[in-house]
């Protein structure tokens, strides 16, 4: 009798603990807004959690309201002065064709040159950095974390800010822009690369090491063939991005087309801006075609 009673108490305690644990597992939302209980015709009951839509909607509206307050958004201004935008876009859409051979070609070529050199430099530095930042090759935790930390800092600063600071250090011109592009490329290529290096098959590497190859030999012949296509693919992707990005770097004085953009928008010559846009579009399109062709060769 006594033993039985004790067993009963323990069982009740266990059940209470289980119920408590179950309640804890439930999300906070379900503990505040208790689920609706539905009885089915056979006598069983089912819990239906309350809809989260009203809560999400309320949070969403609150965030939008705060954002509107912080930015001073006013629809009235757009309606009032929207016609101004129409006038400008109308001028952009009727480009001044003579402006292209006169002024655009030179800076455009410089922009492409800047992105070629910047991309190459960034990609060459990016390969060893990516290898050092992948956890399956570099087993030294402190250096691994160090390289990843540096990479995420490099990636988080926008290219224009780099260009702005570098233009002060290296004097105005294409060199500052090129270094800015190289830094940006390094950040992206190395990140894309170390993420894919971590997924490669390490079997051949171990097999070669067991044959007596040194770490470098094994890496060169077992891992490089796996890494190379991904590496070249990310380099091409970066090159495409960089042509677009380097076109505006000149706005802060770092060479290329941006100098012209800054000058022409400052003078409100939107027909000339249209000519710049058209020629930039053509160059980006041609480079996309070339890089698509090279990419198809990679596979």
């Amino acid at each position: 009798m006594r033993i039985e009673e004790k067993g009963h108490v323990e069982r009740v305690k266990a059940r209470q603990a289980a119920a408590k644990a179950a309640a804890k597992r439930e999300p906070l939302f379900d503990r505040i807004f208790k689920p609706e209980t539905i009885s089915i015709s056979n006598g069983n009951t089912v819990d239906r959690p309350r809809s989260r839509t009203p809560l999400i909607l309320a949070i969403f509206l609150a965030v939008v309201w705060i954002a509107i307050q912080a930015t001073g958004f006013s629809l009235a201004t757009i309606i009032e002065r929207g016609s101004e935008l129409g006038t400008i876009l109308g001028q952009v859409l009727t480009p001044n064709w003579e402006f292209i051979p006169q002024r655009v070609i030179g800076p455009l070529v410089e922009t492409v040159q800047m992105s070629i050199v910047g991309t190459l430099a960034g990609c060459i530095v990016g390969l060893p950095v990516a290898i050092l930042a992948s956890s399956n090759i570099n087993h030294n935790k402190p250096t691994l974390l160090f390289f990843r930390f540096i990479l995420s800092i490099i990636r988080s600063i926008p290219t224009l800010i780099y260009a702005l600071i570098l233009a002060l250090i290296f004097s105005l011109g294409a060199f500052a822009g090129t270094v800015a592009i190289a830094l940006f490329t390094l950040g992206i290529v190395a990140k894309m690369l170390y993420e894919s290096i971590e997924t490669i098959d390490m079997g051949p590497f171990e097999a070669m090491q067991s044959f007596g190859a040194t770490t470098f030999e094994a890496f060169w012949s077992a891992c490089m063939p796996q890494i190379m296509p991904i590496y070249l693919d990310s380099c091409l992707y970066c090159f495409e991005l960089n042509v677009r990005a380097s076109a505006i770097l000149g706005y802060v004085g770092a060479g290329g087309l941006g100098v012209l953009i800054s000058e022409r928008t400052g003078l409100r010559r939107y027909h000339d801006v249209g000519a710049i846009v058209i020629s930039l579009f053509l160059v980006v399109w041609i480079i996309d075609l070339i890089s698509d062709y090279l990419r198809s060769k990679l596979q």
Binding site: V63, V64, I66, A67, I68, A70, T71, G72, F73, S74, T77, I78, R81, G82, E84, L85, I88, L89, V92, V109, E110, Q113, M114, I116, V117, L120, I153, R155, S156, I157, P158, T159, L160, I161, L164, I165, L168, I169, F170, S171, G173, A174, F175, T178, F211, R244, A247, I248, Y251, V252, G255, I261, T265, R268, Y270, V273, V277, L280, F281, V284
Partner: protein, 279 residues
């Protein structure tokens, strides 16, 4: 002795190596082409050496990053870092929301399974036009309409977001499973019900995922739009760079780095959850 050499298990590996195509010349050629392109590129990128004050500026920037202006970091007025970070996030949030909403009608109108092909082509051309103009240039154009300030950043991003977002929306719309709509038709649903249970569930997850991805991009973009005067943390950063207040530059850069790292981490987390469900 001869025999035992032939029995060497390494033999087949050597044979396989010998059978591999020899493309040394091809490699040399590719290398030469790349080198030639690089040399051509380098003709306009000439290194003029560091300017006289350049080394000093570099030193001050690094010193500024090491010793950021802490007073600015915790200053709660509209000039302080917390408000500027909030404003940058607000620009990106509003820009993404308006852009994502504007992209919905445009992407339905450029999906070939919804409208006739010529109509789709017209709207695709409009989207292409929007994408071609760099965001900084959009900001320079919008600033004539709205005047400088965060408001300019919001409208710029609303327009710029349309390009990429609608491209991804169109892919989602063209992959719609129309079999579901037919079976709902057969069950006697009206148009509204068909959209509610047949279309929305198929599109919502990918629409939200796209918008979050774009928010990630917009936030980084919002930091640079300030350079042309479109609000956010970029404007005071540029001002302090040009007025050589490098301790302030350090404070703004740290805020920027922390902000971007946190947002990148959050957006990856949310998108994995949308793609694979709750873990």
């Amino acid at each position: 002795m001869e025999d035992s050499l032939n029995m060497n298990p390494g033999q087949n590996i050597l044979e396989a190596l010998a059978a591999e195509p020899k493309n040394l010349w091809k490699r040399i050629l590719i290398f030469a082409v790349v080198l030639a392109i690089a040399a051509w590129g380098a003709t306009s990128v000439d290194f003029n050496g560091i300017t006289q004050s350049g080394a000093k500026i570099a030193g001050s920037v690094i010193n500024g990053i090491m010793h950021p202006n802490t007073e600015l970091l915790f200053n709660l007025t509209t000039d302080g870092v917390p408000f500027l970070v909030l404003q940058t996030i607000a620009i990106a949030i509003l820009g993404t929301i308006f852009g994502a909403l504007l992209a919905i009608p445009i992407s339905f109108l450029s999906a070939t399974n919804i409208v006739p092909r010529p109509v789709a082509m017209i709207f695709r051309a409009i989207v292409l036009f929007i994408r071609t103009i760099p965001s900084l240039m959009w900001a320079l154009i919008w600033i004539r309409v709205t005047g400088p300030g965060a408001f300019c950043g919001v409208v710029t991003q609303s327009i710029c977001s349309i390009g990429m977002v609608s491209k991804m929306y169109v892919t989602a719309i063209e992959n719609l499973d129309t079999g579901i709509l037919e079976s709902l038709d057969a069950a006697g649903c009206n148009t509204f019900e068909k959209i509610r249970v047949g279309v929305l569930p198929q599109l919502l997850a990918s629409f939200i995922s796209t918008a979050i991805y774009r928010f990630d991009i917009n936030l980084k973009d919002a930091t640079t739009l300030g350079i042309v005067g479109a609000g956010g943390i970029g404007s005071p950063l540029v001002q302090s760079i040009s007025s050589a207040k490098y301790h302030n530059v350090g404070a703004f850069l740290w805020a920027l780095i922390i902000l971007v790292v946190i947002i990148e981490w959050l957006s990856t987390k949310i998108r994995t959850r949308l793609a694979h469900g709750r873990q």
